[in-house]
């Protein structure tokens, strides 16, 4: 990884460690309510999570300190300018991942509204485009082929009751399963 990339990564690690500290801290706070509950002579519901979260909090604090130290050391060493191609590549990678996550989330969110078949069809196309697929025959044929196989196996053969969608989309889905 490049120097610049390493510094950016360290920044990200600090943020991630900070999120871990906040998360475990909040959950530990929530655990306080559970401590002391339970019948006499019985080990309550809070002991085990309290132990797990306390250790997690300490470990994530250590990770945060380590990340800050690493970041400072990397910043002290300086960050040479990255070549334009490397910056473009990094940006492309981020865009691809973001798009693949967003398309996946959109797929899950719209499925109950437009039904499994249409959502899957659109998702395959969108995901392939997000990953950089540009071959027209692949984009034209594959979504239909994959959707047909999946609907045939899982909706017709295994009879999983996939979401059908609402209104006209439900009517469309009922044509197939």
């Amino acid at each position: 990884m490049s120097e610049n990339g390493r510094v950016v990564m360290k920044k990200g690690e600090i943020v991630f460690s900070g999120v871990c500290v906040a998360f475990f801290g909040f959950m530990l706070f929530e655990t306080l309510d559970l401590l002391g509950q339970g019948r006499p002579g019985e080990v309550g519901s809070g002991l085990w999570p309290f132990m797990a979260l306390s250790v997690s909090l300490v470990l994530s604090l250590l990770m945060l300190i380590a990340s800050v130290k690493k970041y400072r050391a990397a910043a002290r060493e300086g960050t040479p300018e990255l070549p334009v191609e490397a910056i473009a590549e990094k940006r492309r990678q981020r865009t691809t991942v973001t798009l693949s996550i967003v398309t996946f989330l959109a797929y899950i969110l719209v499925m109950p509204w437009i039904g499994f078949i249409l959502a899957t069809l659109i998702y395959i196309l969108a995901f392939a485009l997000a990953l950089g697929e540009r071959r027209r025959w692949v984009l034209a044929v594959s979504p239909f082929l994959v959707t047909a196989v999946i609907v045939g196996v899982f909706a017709k053969f295994i009879t999983i009751p996939f979401p059908k969608g609402i209104g006209v989309f439900a009517e469309f889905s009922r044509l197939f399963y």
Partner: protein, 497 residues
């Protein structure tokens, strides 16, 4: 006992089980052979579809995928020089070098025969060792079980690669996640935030699919569009069958490597990759015939690695069946499969469900034999599948993940939960936090907590009860050693501080 075996073979040979064996093995070979899909991903994708199957059919299917995945990882390693699995790296070094010398069929035969031999060797070990270990483990009480889970989790966290600190964060995160839901003893709701989805706890399968499979696709998406080119020309397997004298020549390696593989496989957190590297290193260190060939196409190196990585499967399954402790992601999924079908792996399983335990023995033996023929027939098919557009293939995997999570309860809430785990898995991978300890802790967390609480209850609340038996003392000392040894050997825990 003979009755159990006869019945087990008769059950496994039923048409539906044979079909499950073939399909599982093919799926495993495919998952292993295709870079970007790991064996554990292959198994977890199948796991969600085993709910509707009978327990035996489900295990036959999953074992096929497990053994197929470990075996299939070497196909692309030899022909393309790309390891399908991390455990196939030594195979890339030696196997691909042999293939590039114009002998791909020879390398494939050696790999295949050694894989099957290693796998079968470890199954025989498993058949002998499981009842012995299980009968010993019958003496275990809650304190011993707690110590055993602590040992398993500490070894996995310490050996999971990279920083120990991150390994333990992952482990404790998993332990915490396992507490979400209704407390099995007091009925108290924990961290449900008044949502119905979390009331029953986090489903392992949903978490595993998100953490392992979907997050892996997100990570893979960062890489440039893949097209595997530059492989050696494959003309079929009809030529270059290795002579028997070859295996006689390297007899010591053929004996030592599966033993290494089986023992390493039995250690929590070790598994096929460490087994393959250890056996390969040992073969290189003690090579008597053509040691100069190591790194340039040494058939002995290929034999050692392949015998060992397949032998690790029997070792892992021995510990799983006899003690209920998973040694790897894949065997953690087997625990999930047991739980799906209302069983708990461990010493009691052999007496409560001998049909399942002996059935697993039988199906592992038969799957190893089946893989010999199936791999030969399927190599050309996998080479064709490698040309399939990666974008479409990964989209299909994502859809299978959604179907897997949705199919559990026919609920979109599970799918959303899986998505949340996929983001967590992606972040963990990006910041080099190993996912394996989290998964194992999620699976074992419940058992660890219940054992601890029962042990404390029996001891009247005194923690001394946890160390009152020699077995638990030895196990806890082992856990302490597994934490302290890497720290003193290489102070990774304090790296960067």
């Amino acid at each position: 006992m003979i009755d159990h075996y006869l019945q087990a073979f008769a059950t496994v040979l039923l048409p539906q089980n044979l079909l499950a064996m073939v399909l599982g093995s093919l799926w495993g070979l495919l998952a292993g052979a295709l870079p970007g899909i790991s064996t554990s991903m292959g198994v977890v994708l199948l796991l969600s579809f085993t709910y509707s199957l009978s327990p035996m059919t489900a295990f036959v299917l999953l074992i096929g995928a497990y053994l197929g995945g470990i075996t299939g990882g070497s196909i692309t390693s030899i022909l393309f020089g790309i390891p399908g699995e991390p455990s196939s790296v030594p195979t890339v070094i030696e196997g691909h070098a042999i293939a590039k010398q114009g002998r791909p069929a020879y390398a494939l035969w050696v790999y295949l025969l050694c894989s099957i031999y290693g796998g079968t060797f470890s199954v025989v070990f498993m058949i002998v060792a499981t009842p012995l270990i299980a009968s010993f483990a019958l003496r275990f009480g809650p304190a011993e079980y707690f110590a055993l889970t602590v040992l398993g989790l500490s070894v996995v966290s310490g050996l999971s690669g990279g920083s120990m600190l991150k390994g333990f964060i992952s482990c404790f995160l998993g332990l915490f996640l396992a507490t979400i839901g209704t407390d099995g003893i007091t009925g108290e709701e924990r961290y449900t935030f008044d949502t119905v989805t979390l009331l029953g706890g986090i489903n392992f399968v949903v978490a595993m699919v998100g953490l392992l499979a979907v997050s892996e696709i997100f990570v893979e998406a960062e890489e440039p569009f893949k097209e595997y080119k530059g492989g050696v020309e494959y003309r079929g397997m009809l030529s270059e069958f290795p002579p028997f004298s070859l295996f006689k020549k390297y007899l010591l390696t053929m004996i030592r490597s599966p033993i290494i593989g089986t023992i390493v496989g039995a250690l929590p957190g070790a598994g096929a990759t460490i087994a393959a590297f250890l056996a390969y290193g040992e073969a290189a260190r003690t090579a008597k015939h053509e040691p100069e060939k190591f790194g340039k196409g040494a058939v002995e190196g290929l034999m050692a690695a392949e015998c060992a990585n397949n032998a690790s499967t029997g070792g892992s399954m021995t510990i799983l069946l006899s003690l209920g402790i998973p040694g790897s992601n894949t065997t953690a999924m087997m625990i999930a499969a047991f739980m799906i079908h209302g069983m708990q792996p461990g010493p009691l399983l052999l007496t409560q469900r001998p049909d399942i335990v002996y059935g697993i023995f039988a199906s592992m033996l038969l799957t190893n034999l089946l893989l010999l023929g199936l791999t030969i027939l399927a190599i050309r098919m996998f080479l064709e599948l490698n040309r399939m557009p990666y974008s479409i293939f990964s989209a299909a995997i994502m859809i299978l993940c959604v179907i897997g999570a949705y199919g559990l309860n026919n609920s979109m809430d599970d799918v959303m939960l899986m998505f949340a785990f996929s983001l967590l898995g992606y972040a963990m991978r990006k910041f080099d936090i190993p996912v394996a300890p989290c998964i194992l802790a999620l699976v074992l967390g419940d058992m660890a907590e219940l054992s601890l609480r029962r042990a404390l209850l029996l001891a009247g609340g005194s923690p001394v009860g946890l160390v009152s038996s020699p077995i638990s003392v030895v196990l806890l000392a082992g856990a302490l050693f597994s934490i302290l040894y890497p720290m003193f050997k290489k102070p990774k825990m304090l790296q960067g501080l």
